[in-house]
Amino acid sequence: MMRTIALVLFSLTLSGIALAGPEKLANPQLEARAVALQQQLRCLVCQGESLDESNAPLAADLRRLIRERIAAGDSDDSVKAYLVARYGDFILMKPPVKSETYLLWFAPLGFLAVGGGIVALIASRARRRLALESAARDHVLGRTEGNA
């Protein structure tokens, strides 16, 4: 949190607070596309904030840039490709699935698979033990009844 604060503050001191506003597109459909795009792209200065949320001046510039490209008729993908070419995968809030991120994307499945295996093992042993215990209990009970 401290780091975010420090970075947010750093950007604030540079700019004052540059909230989004005048850079809106007149066409509401295009504007909606721009908003959707800026939610998928991160602010390059602040941690954990998207372009949509960031108060940094660079974020405001990029919001303007996105609108210019959209107004010029670019598709969403080509706007993204344009920004990735300039700033790298770093700008994408959702990292692309490629060789260097396989581990990132598939690790959760790996955890579930390994953990699930362990749980299944424990459960099957516990079940066998339960069966043995009840068998043993039946045996003991059966014998006492027989003696009586």
Partner: protein, 642 residues
């Protein structure tokens, strides 16, 4: 003088911590020596001297003693008294003293309560002494808060204005009570492994510490999220920021631990799970401290800039985690007894709870550290933001929430699924109704939102059913109240999170006085923007009338504050809450001719996010209260599933 008293107190505390660890570990052999009495005395002495050092630091901050470097760098005479006081821990050195203070507080509790018998207490005190010694060494060698400055400056550099907020003033102590509370659970786990006494009484002895830590973490995370919401100026409440993740991971593992320990408390089942989770929980607290304090988060290269601190924490990390895990690998296999249960039983659900919570924590761990690792290894920079966690973390958590209501409904060893389903039938009805209503009413229609509300209704309704049934059968005790509250709290938070994520409305316009913007049926009319003054800041304050159906219902006054001492500006949002929704207004830049950017949001059900956190913490408190009322030596009376 204050500085020297504080420094001397820290040195004496270090000596006592070493005595405590040696005497404690000697006493753990249980050979009738006086190790126990010495360790207990040392723990009390440790608390006294650490309190003295902490008090000296606070005194230096409150009296603005700028001959102490830490005070000169982080305080200012014009600051309100509250922030002079809390500024003592609003910096690296002070926060480490707070850390050790909380640690010594817990260790005094352990010494005083003597839970679980002499040997276990001694071993736990020994481990806590080791931890305290390591942190005190860290403070004295790399982060001495009492370094003098000659000549002292006339004025201090001030405290980050974002931290000058009542919410954040008490956020660090709460979070530290959580992080460090897990050290007590860790100490008990290590003690259980050392003495071999890691059975049901062990879990009962350690549980109050686990619960205290969990309650504090829950409240700390809730408070931090609320603070981010109202200070960062755009109404977000969770950022998947590495520092937030650093507090979420121990919380997830501590939650798993509380559940696994339920089984351990009863019959000693899952004791290796419980031990491992206790070790992992505190390890993640340490990892969090390392991440936050070493500077690796902003850049892997920051680590090289201030290597001393980072290196020291890394060493502590390896020693504590490696040592504990080695101890675990060596001793744990001899402790496991094996339990017998059917796949449809409460044990099985606790096991699934553990699986899903640890998988969720591991996912957060990977998402947080992967960018750092990738940058360090191949120099490529990527971002792992909210969309990653929405795809990976959210489904795991959704499955967990789906299973939650079955837990309290299934019996130990062998449960009756048929009767559980029958009892939970009304909750399923509530879930279906919630989904239908949400799909019919909420616009834009959102399947994810409807699903989340169904899950929330499922959680809340099943908690109510559980409470009502147990009350009717007179088996509604503290532990039943705990699970009902904690699980319902999850549902309440989930509703808030889903509603804000799916149905937030926002609007931003450049407004001149007299002009207005509309958000979700509210008209916000800018009356004017004037000057305002605080104790140590100047502000531009906008007066904005909230108009509904042609009538002014309230005037909101968001501010833009600038702090001359610190040379920083922050935005102070104004929030009008009805309890069911927040109208959130922030003031932006001036755009010439007296017109200003105004940004407004309507966040439906936003207060539920934090209300749920508080309800969960109340659940924890109920469990804690129930446990403390029962003497440890006696077996606890458990609420059997019907």
């Amino acid at each position: 003088m204050t500085g020297e008293v504080g420094l001397l107190a820290l040195c004496l505390a270090l000596a006592l911590a070493i005595v405590q660890s040696l005497a404690g570990l000697a006493g753990a052999r249980g050979d009738g020596g006086n190790g126990a009495a010495i360790a207990q005395g040392a723990a009390m002495g440790l608390l006294v001297f650490v309190s003295l050092a902490f008090g000296a630091l606070i005194y230096a901050f409150v009296t603005s003693d700028f001959s102490i470097l830490d005070v000169a760098q982080n305080s200012h005479t014009a600051k309100p008294l509250l922030y002079k006081f809390t500024g003592a821990w609003g910096n690296h050195e002070g926060s480490m003293v707070l850390w050790v203070f909380v640690l010594s507080l817990y260790s005094a509790f352990v010494a005083f309560a003597q839970r679980g018998g002499t040997r276990l207490t001694c071993a736990a005190l020994g481990v806590q002494g080791l931890l305290a010694a390591a942190f005190l060494l860290f403070i004295l060698l790399t982060s001495n808060p009492f370094v003098r400055l000659d000549p002292p400056p006339f004025e201090g550099a001030g405290l980050n204005p974002l931290l000058q907020d009542p919410g954040l003033a008490f956020h660090p102590p709460l979070l530290y009570f959580g992080y460090v509370g897990l050290s007590a659970a860790f100490a008990y786990a290590a003690a259980g492994l050392i003495t071999g006494e890691a059975d049901a009484p062990w879990a009962r002895a350690a549980r109050p510490f686990m619960l205290t830590a969990w309650i504090a973490l829950t409240l700390g995370i809730t408070g931090g999220s609320w603070w981010a919401y109202y200070t960062l100026g755009w109404g977000g409440f969770w950022f998947w920021d590495p520092v937030e993740n650093a507090s979420l991971m121990p919380w997830l593992v501590a939650t798993a631990l509380l559940h696994s320990a339920l089984a351990t408390e009863r019959t000693g089942a899952f004791r290796t799970w419980s031990l491992l989770l206790a070790i992992l929980g505190f390890s993640l607290s340490l990892v969090g401290t390392f991440l936050v304090r070493s500077g690796v988060l902003t850049s892997v290269h920051a680590f090289a800039n201030d290597p001393e601190r980072g290196f020291f924490i890394l060493l502590m990390l390896i020693a504590a985690i490696g040592g504990a895990l080695a101890l675990f690998a060596w001793r744990a296999p001899k402790l496991e007894t094996g339990t017998a249960f059917h796949p449809i039983s409460r044990e099985m659900l606790l096991l699934l709870n553990n699986l899903l919570l640890t998988a969720a924590a591991a996912t957060v761990f990977v998402g947080t550290l992967y960018p750092l690792a990738l940058d360090a290894w191949i120099g490529k920079k990527i971002s792992v933001g909210a969309p990653y966690f929405a795809i990976t973390f959210a489904p795991i958590f959704a499955v967990l929430l789906l299973l939650v209501p079955f837990g309290p409904r299934l019996g130990w060893r062998r449960g009756d699924l048929h009767s559980a389903l029958r009892i939970l039938l009304p909750a399923m009805g509530a879930a279906a109704a919630a989904a239908v209503v949400v799909l019919a009413v909420a616009r834009p229609a959102s399947a994810a939102g409807a699903g989340a509300f169904a899950l929330a209704a499922w959680l809340i309704a099943s908690s109510i059913i559980d409470a009502v049934r147990r009350n009717r059968r007179r088996t509604f005790g503290w532990s039943a109240a705990a699970s009902a509250l904690a699980h319902a709290g999850l549902g309440i938070s989930l509703m808030g999170i889903a509603a804000v994520s799916c149905w937030k409305s926002e609007a931003s316009e450049v407004l001149a006085p007299g002009q207005s913007l509309t958000v979700a049926g509210y008209e916000l009319r800018l009356r004017d923007v004037g000057e305002a003054r605080g104790p140590n800041y100047f502000a531009k304050r906008a007066d904005i009338d909230v108009v509904r159906n042609g009538r002014v219902i309230e005037t909101l006054s968001p501010e833009k504050r600038s702090y001359p001492a610190e040379g920083q500006a922050i935005s102070k949002a104004a929030i009008r809450t009805t309890g069911l929704s927040d109208l959130y207004v922030a003031l932006g830049d001036e755009r010439g001719h007296g017109s200003w950017i105004v940004r407004a949001y309507l966040n439906p059900l936003a207060p539920f996010i934090w209300l749920g956190g508080i309800v969960m913490a109340l659940g924890g408190a109920a469990s804690l209260f129930g446990r403390l009322r029962v003497r440890v030596a006696k077996p606890l009376a458990y609420v059997a599933a019907e």
